[in-house]
C-alpha cells in the first residue's frame, strides 16, 4: 500500500461517508413508505402531554447558552493548537536544543488561557445556578 498516493488513505473514509449517507436516506424514505399514514389533526399537533399546545417553541433563551458557545470556540482553538505541540513534544529537545524549552513554551501559552478560565469563572459565567452573575 506504500506505493499509493497518500490521498488513497482517505478515499475509504469518503466512501464511508457516502455509503452511510445513502443508507440513512434509504432508512428515512423506506419508513415513510412502509408505515401507513392515518393523519388526524390531534395526532399531528405538537406534543404537550395531551393538552392543546400553547403558542410555538420559538422564543428567546438565556444568554448563557451563547456564552457557552462563544467560550467553546475560543478554547477549542486553543485545544487545536495544543495537538501539534503534543505530536512533536518528544522531538522538541532535539529541535530547539534545550531539554525543557518545549515545556515552557506550552506553560506560557497555557498560562494566558488559564487566566482566561479563571476570569470567566470568577465572573460567574460558569455558575449556572446563581442569578448574581454579571450576565
Amino acid at each position: 500500500m506504500q506505493n499509493h498516493p497518500y490521498i488513497w488513505n482517505y478515499i475509504p473514509l469518503l466512501m464511508q461517508v457516502g455509503i452511510v449517507g445513502l443508507m440513512t436516506l434509504g432508512m428515512v424514505t423506506m419508513s415513510w413508505f412502509i408505515g401507513r399514514h392515518r393523519n388526524l389533526k390531534d395526532k399531528l399537533e405538537a406534543y404537550e402531554c395531551g393538552i392543546p399546545a400553547e403558542g410555538d417553541a420559538r422564543g428567546r433563551f438565556s444568554v448563557r447558552f451563547y456564552m457557552v458557545a462563544m467560550l467553546f470556540i475560543l478554547f477549542d482553538v486553543e485545544a487545536v493548537f495544543m495537538i501539534p505541540w503534543a505530536v512533536i513534544y518528544r522531538r522538541l529537545p532535539a529541535i530547539t536544543g534545550s531539554q525543557l524549552f518545549g515545556f515552557w513554551e506550552m506553560v506560557v501559552y497555557l498560562g494566558f488561557v488559564v487566566v482566561g478560565v479563571f476570569y470567566v469563572w470568577k465572573k460567574g459565567v460558569l455558575d449556572w445556578a446563581s442569578d448574581k452573575a454579571d450576565l
Binding site: Y10, L13, M15, T24, V28, S31, G35, L44, Y47, Q99
Partner: protein, 355 residues
C-alpha cells in the same frame, strides 16, 4: 503491493458494507444487553420472551419500528426535520471508519481490520464528533416543540462543553505516542512481557487521570446517564426526539448506541492497548490466522467491558442537575485536564534523554 484503483474501490466497498452491517448488529445487541443488565440490576428479568433468552428481541423491535406510522407533525420545518436524524446516525456510523479493530494484517495489500488508516485518525474522530452536534440541535429546533427545543439546547451546550475536556484529555496520550495515527498510539503501548498491560497508557503512561476525564466527558458526549439531561424523561418527555416516530426515532436511538460503541473503541485504543493482548505474547497468536482472531477477540473484549461499564453506571447513578453538570465540566474537568497536560509534559521533559 500495487493494486489497481478499481480493485481498491471494490475491496473497500465490501469492507465498509461488512463493517457497517456488523456495527448495526452490535448496536442492536447492545440495546438488548442494556435491557437485560438494567433488568438484572433492578431485580427483574428483562426481555425473555422472543427467542431463547430474548435473543431475537432486537430483530422484533427493529421490524416493529419499521412498520410504525411515520408522523410528520404540522409545525415542523420539513427538510430539517428529516435531515436531523440522518446527520445524527450518519456521524455515529462514520467514525468507525478510522478505528483499527485488529492487528495490522495485510491480505493482498489490503488492511483487513481497518477501513481507513489515516495519519490524523484521532483528529478525524474529534471532527466527526463535533459535526454530530448538528443532528441534535436541528432535531430540537425543527420539531417546533418546547420539550424538543429545551432538550436540544441542553444537549448541544453539554456536548460542546464536554468536547473541550475530551480534547484536552487526549493531549497527554498524543504526547506519549508522538503521533495522531491510532495504530501508532496502540503500538506505543505494546509490551512483550507477561505483564504487558503495565505498558498501557492507563498504567504505564500514567494517564489514568486523562482516562477518567475522557470517560466522564464521553458519558456526557453520548448523552448517557448520569448526564442524560437532554432526554430527562421526568422533565422533558423524551427531549430532542419527542416529535419523532417510527424509523426516525429509531435512528436517534441507534446513533446513541453506535456512539457508545465508538467511545468504547476509542477508550480501548487510547488507554488500554487496543487489540494487543494484556499478557504480552501469551494469547496473542503465532500464525497470521490466530493473530487475527485473537487480536479481534481482545479488542472486542475490551470494548465489551466499556459497554458493560456504561450500563452499570446507568443502572447505578442518579442524574445530575443542569447547573452541576455545566459546573463540573468547566470548573473541574477542564482545569484538571490542563493540569494533567502540564504534569505529563514536565515528567516527560525531565525523563527524555538529553539530545
Amino acid at each position: 503491493m500495487e493494486t489497481g484503483l478499481f480493485t481498491f474501490l471494490i475491496v473497500n466497498l465490501i469492507k465498509i458494507v461488512v463493517v457497517v452491517v456488523i456495527l448495526l448488529m452490535a448496536v442492536a445487541y447492545t440495546v438488548l444487553l442494556e435491557r437485560k443488565l438494567v433488568g438484572r440490576i433492578q431485580n427483574r428479568w428483562g426481555p425473555s420472551r422472543v427467542g431463547p433468552f430474548g435473543l431475537l428481541q432486537p430483530l422484533a423491535d427493529g421490524a416493529k419500528l419499521f412498520l410504525k406510522e411515520d408522523l410528520m407533525p404540522f409545525a415542523v420545518e420539513r427538510p430539517l426535520y428529516v435531515l436531523a436524524p440522518m446527520i445524527a446516525l450518519g456521524c455515529a456510523l462514520t467514525s468507525i471508519a478510522v478505528i483499527p479493530f485488529g492487528a495490522n494484517i495485510q491480505w493482498h495489500g489490503v488492511d483487513l481490520f481497518q477501513i481507513s488508516d489515516v495519519s490524523i485518525g484521532l483528529l478525524i474522530l474529534l471532527g466527526i464528533t463535533s459535526v454530530g452536534v448538528y443532528g441534535i440541535a436541528l432535531s430540537g429546533w425543527s420539531s417546533n416543540n418546547k420539550y424538543s427545543l429545551l432538550g436540544a439546547l441542553r444537549a448541544s451546550a453539554q456536548v460542546i462543553s464536554y468536547e473541550l475536556a475530551l480534547g484536552l484529555a487526549l493531549v497527554g496520550v498524543v504526547m506519549r505516542a508522538g503521533s495522531l495515527r491510532l495504530r501508532d498510539i496502540v503500538n506505543v503501548q505494546t509490551g512483550h512481557s507477561l505483564v504487558a498491560f503495565l505498558h498501557w497508557n492507563f498504567f504505564g503512561g500514567f494517564q489514568f487521570v486523562a482516562f477518567f476525564i475522557y470517560l466522564m466527558a464521553a458519558y456526557a458526549e453520548t448523552n448517557r446517564a448520569p448526564f442524560d439531561l437532554p432526554e430527562a424523561e421526568s422533565e422533558l418527555t423524551a427531549g430532542y426526539h419527542t416529535e419523532y416516530s417510527s424509523m426516525k426515532f429509531a435512528m436517534f436511538f441507534m446513533a446513541e448506541y453506535a456512539n457508545m460503541i465508538t467511545v468504547g473503541c476509542v477508550a480501548t485504543l487510547l488507554f488500554f492497548g487496543g487489540w494487543t493482548s494484556p499478557f504480552g505474547h501469551f494469547l496473542s497468536g503465532s500464525g497470521p490466522v490466530s493473530t487475527a482472531i485473537l487480536s479481534v477477540f481482545w479488542f472486542v473484549a475490551k470494548v465489551f467491558f466499556f459497554l458493560f461499564l456504561y450500563i452499570w453506571v446507568r443502572g447505578t447513578l442518579p442524574r445530575f442537575r443542569y447547573d452541576q453538570l455545566m459546573g463540573f465540566g468547566w470548573t473541574f474537568l477542564v482545569p484538571v485536564a490542563i493540569a494533567n497536560i502540564v504534569v505529563t509534559g514536565l515528567w516527560m521533559g525531565l525523563s527524555l534523554p538529553a539530545h
